[in-house]
């Protein structure tokens, strides 16, 4: 019955309660939607970076990552490594790469690039670069004239070259001698990360190994894609045990900024929502204090007829929770609906494409939030209602019934 009384009390002053409910609802709408945009953007960035740039796991010679010297190829029992990667459960695909720094030059300009010598078929099973070549921008190593190279759109602008243009790559071979070769642009890819596009070029491993004067099966890097992102650390641990001499890193270790983005985004979202709830909590406290002031005589009567302190506290706490939960449910529902709709349509920030792509983000945003966020947010709303009731309830408990009854 106290629940019923509390619910009815919430609506005793409809206008005032509606103002608070709407404040909570719109506060949460803003909070939920902002969180969804942030989370969606961050998830999208992580997803794209893993599928295009880092893959889930990478294997290197331990010395290679210090200065990317071409002589530090993956050593040891390569046959055993191939067998393990081919047979290990959970590994969807893996791609060996020779990877080295080079100078890329055209007739007009030159710049430093990272050359990825890959096996096109295997690479296309690990990363998505092959799918990011638009129709008019060539192919992924098919029907190419000359020695093929796939470059990013940003690099073509920098070198002032086009599809089928020739570029020269100059680099050091395994012995440290300067070498190089002429390549014909076979395809131009475009990710949402213009820095990556400007920096990375793809050639076939079979084309560059002779230029490097390296052994046929040499590679500097093995990139792996897992069947399930959740097992990355488990596979990493197994591989580390099997190949202790090699450096085996997951995507968070390869790109610590990306790892931090992934790990801290949730914490940041809860902090963000916590600040919103704190602000709304003060609104609830104000409303509850006014309600108690108006009902001094009634609270005095309740205490007089035998309503004990716990029950009076519960009554006020329930009113506060109902108030916050009503606003919370409306706000979360509106926020969910807006998130769902914009997730379907996407938010096109095309005007800011250049800026977004320079920091590696896709200008097409897809807001999203997971179920746990909504569950936790609902719990935060209830907790806010409870906490916001403490001060008004304490004020109510301090009332002396004999005086409160005669209050005008």
């Amino acid at each position: 019955m106290i629940w019923i009384v509390a619910w009815k009390n919430v609506w005793r002053n409809k206008a005032r309660s509606l103002v608070v409910v709407m404040a909570i609802a719109f506060g949460l709408l803003g909070g939920v939607f902002s969180s969804a945009v942030l989370k969606g953007t961050s998830d999208q960035r992580v997803r794209e970076a893993v599928s295009r740039e880092t893959s889930h796991l990478q294997i290197h010679n331990k010395a290679y990552t210090d200065d990317n010297e071409v002589k530090f190829v993956i050593g040891g029992d390569l046959e055993k490594l191939d067998n393990v990667l081919d047979t290990m459960k959970g590994i969807e695909a893996w791609s060996p790469r020779v990877k080295f720094m080079a100078m890329a030059g055209s007739a007009n300009a030159g710049t430093g690039v990272m050359v990825m010598g890959i096996d096109p078929d295997r690479e296309s099973r690990v990363t998505e670069i092959h799918s990011l070549i638009r129709d008019s921008c060539g192919t992924w190593f098919q029907a190419c004239k000359g020695v093929p190279v796939i470059v990013g759109e940003a690099l073509t602008k920098k070198l002032k070259v086009r599809l089928h243009s020739k570029i020269v790559l100059t680099f050091q071979d395994m012995q440290g001698n300067l070498t190089g070769g002429a390549f014909r642009i076979c395809g131009i890819y475009r990710t949402s990360n213009s820095v990556f596009d400007e920096m990375n070029v793809f050639v076939t491993r079979t084309d560059v190994i002779p230029l490097l004067a390296a052994e046929t099966n040499s590679c500097h890097e093995i990139a792996m894609r897992m069947k399930d992102a959740g097992i990355v650390e488990q596979i990493q641990s197994t591989l580390k045990t099997l190949f202790p001499a090699l450096l085996i890193q997951n995507w968070k270790e390869i790109d610590p900024l990306l790892g931090m983005l992934n790990d801290f985004m949730d914490l940041w979202l809860y902090l963000f929502m916590g600040i919103i709830m704190l602000a709304l909590g003060f609104g609830i406290i104000n409303t509850m204090l006014m309600a108690i002031l108006e009902r001094t005589r009634e609270l005095g009567m309740l205490a007089a007829i035998g309503m004990n302190k716990q029950k009076i506290f519960s009554l006020i706490m329930l009113e506060s929770v109902f108030l916050s939960l009503t606003g919370g449910i409306i706000g979360i529902t509106m926020g969910t609906a807006l998130t769902w709709y914009t997730n379907l349509t996407g938010i096109n920030l095309g005007t800011f494409t250049e800026g977004f792509e320079k920091i590696g983000y896709n200008p097409m945003l897809y807001p999203s939030l997971d179920l746990f966020f909504f569950i936790n947010l609902t719990l935060m709303v209830i907790a806010t209602g409870i906490l916001a009731s403490v001060y008004p309830a304490r004020r109510a408990l301090k009332l002396r019934p004999a005086e409160a009854i005669r209050n005008d």
């Binding site: 009815k8 005793r12 009567m301 007829i305 035998g306 302190k309």
Partner: protein, 228 residues
């Protein structure tokens, strides 16, 4: 045997720098089934005395024995419980819960007592019928007249089956017809069901109906007499 025995009750307040003796060595006893009016001018100590008997305030000195138990010695928690089970209150300004219907208002105290819903509903309905509001049980206080609200308050006071009912100026806000009606109901409850009523009042109509009149002046009993 007395159901209430007040012994050497003293209470004083400090008003600015002056000490006011609201109750000054009061000794009174009330028996079961009394219909008593406590009268006196404003500031004579009527409300203070009622608050003391009702356990809403503590005396500086003296004892209040209700059914042999000294309520001045009870902890605040036990006192709340004692009030709920043993004392019924009727207030000058009705003090009903505005969001509840008449039935729910009467039922509420029984809910606090932990009585099951069926029993609560049946007793609340019975009491509202007894005070002549059988046809208004689902009305909210705002839809009832002052007299009707005070009758709901009487029904609520009776709902917990208290040993006695304290009514602080119950007719102060009522018109003549409502006052007459309310007094008739309370008198009937007193005569037929031996409900003990103790009023504080200024109202001569209440005094005329009372079986016993206690007159207070400056915190002292100056007259205590039974009338026919």
């Amino acid at each position: 045997m007395s159901i209430i025995a007040i012994e050497n009750l003293k209470k004083s307040y400090r008003d600015s720098e002056v000490e006011v003796h609201a109750l000054n060595d009061i000794n009174i006893a009330f028996d079961q089934g009394e219909f008593t009016a406590i009268v006196g001018p404003s500031g004579s100590g009527k409300t203070t005395l009622l608050n003391m008997i009702g356990g809403l305030d503590k005396p500086d000195n003296g004892r209040i024995l209700i059914g042999g138990e000294d309520i001045t010695k009870l902890s605040s928690r036990k006192l709340i419980d004692f009030r709920m089970h043993h004392i019924g209150f009727v207030f000058q300004s009705y003090n009903l819960i505005p969001v509840l219907t008449a039935l729910e208002n009467v039922e509420f105290i029984m809910h606090l007592q932990g009585i099951k819903r069926e029993k609560r509903l049946s007793r609340a309905t019975e009491l509202l019928e007894a005070v002549g509001l059988g046809d208004r049980i689902h009305s909210r206080p705002s839809k009832l007249s002052g007299g009707q609200q005070q009758r709901v308050a009487v029904a609520r006071a009776l709902a917990s089956r208290p040993r006695f009912i304290l009514a602080d100026e119950p007719t102060a806000n009522l018109d003549s017809a409502s006052t007459r009606n309310l007094l008739e109901i309370m008198e009937k409850l007193n005569q037929e069901e031996q409900v003990t009523f103790i009023f504080s009042t200024h109202d001569q109509r209440v005094v005329d109906k009372a079986h016993r009149v206690i007159v207070l002046e400056d915190g002292k009993v100056v007259k205590d007499e039974y009338q026919n």
